[in-house]
Amino acid sequence: MADDPHRFLPLSPAALHILLSLAGEDMHGYAIMQEIARQSGGQYKMGPGTLYDNLQRLMDREWVEDLGQRSGDEDPRRRYYRLTLSGRGVLEAETARLAGVVREARSRLQSTMPSVHKPRRA
């Protein structure tokens, strides 16, 4: 039962960033927080409450799965998360959507720019 990912677009910024972080590799919660901070250049800092709340909702949608604890990890309380196939699909759809937005924005802004610089006829 593959839901059309486009139904869920646009994603909330938090969900987008979480999925993006997990796209690279499996991570535990704290690492996701750090990755999000890094990706946004320190501008978007997510607290654990928000993180796990979103993670749970992503897991309900089956875009993320819980891998459980890893043996030998320095902190045994940590649990790792992985992006599922459908999660990856949603992320790709969202990326494509955003790319389209950026394209559109660029073309519009460029077309208006020359008129700004048009010399005025006296």
Binding site: G29, Y30, G47, P48, G49, Y52, E62
Partner: protein, 526 residues
């Protein structure tokens, strides 16, 4: 410490969320360095707590671990249950807010609106009350009524002349009238102190006599010749002169003078082209400064004669009619259950005219075990009548009040003429009912008895008018009522001007009678 708090916050989360993520969140807390980070995490924890309880109802229960889906083995029936209905979690918060709001609204409505409807007061039979309109043509008279009730002074000499009355001795308890007795101390050079027995002319024929007369005249006034600025100026100057000379508070009369002049300069008076409007306008301006409801400027259609003291014969006749019509403003006299006497008096009428009626009323209540004076609709009147009624309540002459006249620097004492022969009320409990309408002479009655601890006041705080007014002519059509005398109670060395008389038992006026009755009952049971 902060870690402990964070753990508490985590423990307060819904069970499912706590079980699922509690450890992870705590591990993150342990990883973060620094106090600032810890505080931020704590704040985040509190926000998360709120969010989980308010908006994530679906997370309250156990959360599935949600690991990779197990495929159902073949041959084993697999049931997909339809989710039971759950209200949207997003509806919880607004639903709760709405419930709280409705609950508060209901409590508020119960507390403030309907209680008043339930206590419907069924009014007793009311006699038609006369509304007195301030007179204008009386000069050189003094009173203490709602606005102006002149009292004759006999001659225009500063002292109150003491004349005798024919005692109206038809009633068994009619007082032995003292004639021409001055109780005061010998006259000194600086000030003159005279006392006044209730049979004086001080409260004489004029209380409200001229009032009703002038009222009628004003009512029947046709359109007058329009006022011009010159006459307005003359009236203002006349008013200022009288205020400066006679008003009890020189500082306030100065302020009033300035205010009148200023209004005239600003052109505020220009619209008042007829006498009545102008008089009302000036009255308003004066009262705005002084807050003294005894001050008034009065316009009289017919010419005010010069040098006349006391009310005109027509004024006297009209007042007499009014008193006959209203039974000397005795609205009700009866005996309530438990033998409590009740007397509702709506003014303190002129003593000479109404002494028999009032004496008869007091005689009819002579056997009561307690007495309630209902002054809730009493706007004052004659100080002599006040003293007369109070005389029934003492068995020896009692000093009620002093009346101090600033311009003459003289003081008049008011004493009761106790004991009243045959009266049995001198040692009975007395209750006085007051309302916010109780004014002037009625306030004196209540205040004096309160200071003497002779009565219990039940009701509302009274209107606060203590000054006694004398009317003086300004010109042919205008006169001004200037309070020139104020009472100074011998016990408190003060009076109730502005503040009103505070009741001993504070209840709303409609409930005062009921309260007084039960209070009287309690007093009598002891």
């Amino acid at each position: 410490m902060l870690r402990h708090l964070y753990r508490c916050a985590l423990r307060l989360h819904p069970r499912g969320f706590r079980r699922r993520f509690g450890d992870e969140m705590l591990s993150i807390f342990d990883h973060e360095q620094g106090r600032l980070a810890a505080f931020r995490l704590l704040l985040d924890g509190l926000v998360s707590l709120t969010r989980q309880w308010a908006l994530r109802q679906e997370f309250w229960g156990e959360l599935p671990p949600n690991q990779a889906l197990q495929p159902t083995p073949i041959g084993v029936p697999s049931f997909s249950t339809i989710d039971p209905f759950r209200p949207r979690s997003a509806a919880v918060v607004p639903g709760a807010l709405l419930s709280i709001a409705l609950f508060c609204a209901t409590c508020f409505a119960i507390r403030y609106s309907w209680i008043h409807v339930l206590h419907v007061h069924i009014p007793e039979v009311q006699f038609e009350r006369s509304k007195w309109v301030p007179p204008s043509s009386d000069v050189g008279t003094s009173s203490r009524e709602d606005s102006v009730s002149p009292i004759t002074k006999g001659q225009s000499s500063p002292t109150i002349s003491i004349t005798s009355h024919s005692p109206l001795a038809q009633q068994p308890v009619a007082p032995a009238v003292a004639t021409g007795q001055a109780r005061g101390t010998p006259v000194s050079k600086k000030s003159r102190v005279e006392s006044m027995a209730p049979s004086q002319t001080m409260p004489a024929t004029s209380t409200a006599i001229a009032k009703s007369l002038i009222g009628a005249e004003q009512r029947s006034a046709a359109a007058d010749a329009p006022l011009d600025a010159a006459e307005r100026e003359q009236v203002i100057q006349g008013a200022i002169r009288n205020l400066r000379r006679y008003y009890i508070d020189p500082a306030i009369s100065q302020t009033m003078a300035q205010s009148l002049t200023k209004h005239a300069e600003n052109g505020d008076d220009d619209e008042a082209t007829d006498g009545e409007t102008f008089a009302k306008l000036l009255t308003m301006q004066l009262r705005a400064v002084s807050h003294d409801r005894h001050l008034s400027v009065i316009y009289n259609q017919s010419a005010i004669p010069e040098g006349v003291t006391g009310p005109t014969p027509e004024a006297i006749a009209r007042y007499r009619q009014e008193m006959e019509r209203t039974n000397c403003t005795l609205e009700k006299v009866e005996t309530l259950p438990h033998n409590v006497g009740y007397l509702k008096l709506n003014s303190f009428p002129d003593l000479q005219l109404c002494q028999p009626k009032i004496a008869a009323a007091m005689a009819s209540l002579n056997d009561a075990d307690a007495i309630i004076f209902d002054l809730r609709d009493n706007h004052g009147g004659s100080p002599g009548m006040v003293a007369f009624v109070a005389s029934y309540l003492f068995d020896h002459p009692t000093h009620l009040d002093d009346f101090y006249n600033r311009s003459e620097n003289s003081t008049l004492q008011s004493w009761t003429l106790s004991p009243i022969q045959g009266s049995k009320l001198a040692d009975k409990p007395v209750l006085v009912l007051t309302s916010a309408e109780t004014f002037s002479g009625a306030e004196e009655f209540a205040y004096d008895l309160k200071m003497l601890k002779r009565a219990i006041l039940v009701g509302e705080r009274t209107a606060g008018g203590a000054h006694m007014v004398r009317h003086r002519r300004i010109n042919e059509h205008f006169s001004i009522g200037v309070p020139d005398t104020r009472p100074i109670n011998p016990v408190s060395r003060s009076n109730w001007e502005g503040t009103g008389v505070t009741p001993d038992v504070s209840v709303r006026a409609p409930e005062a009678l009921r309260t007084a009755e039960s209070l009287a009952e309690k007093l009598l049971q002891k």
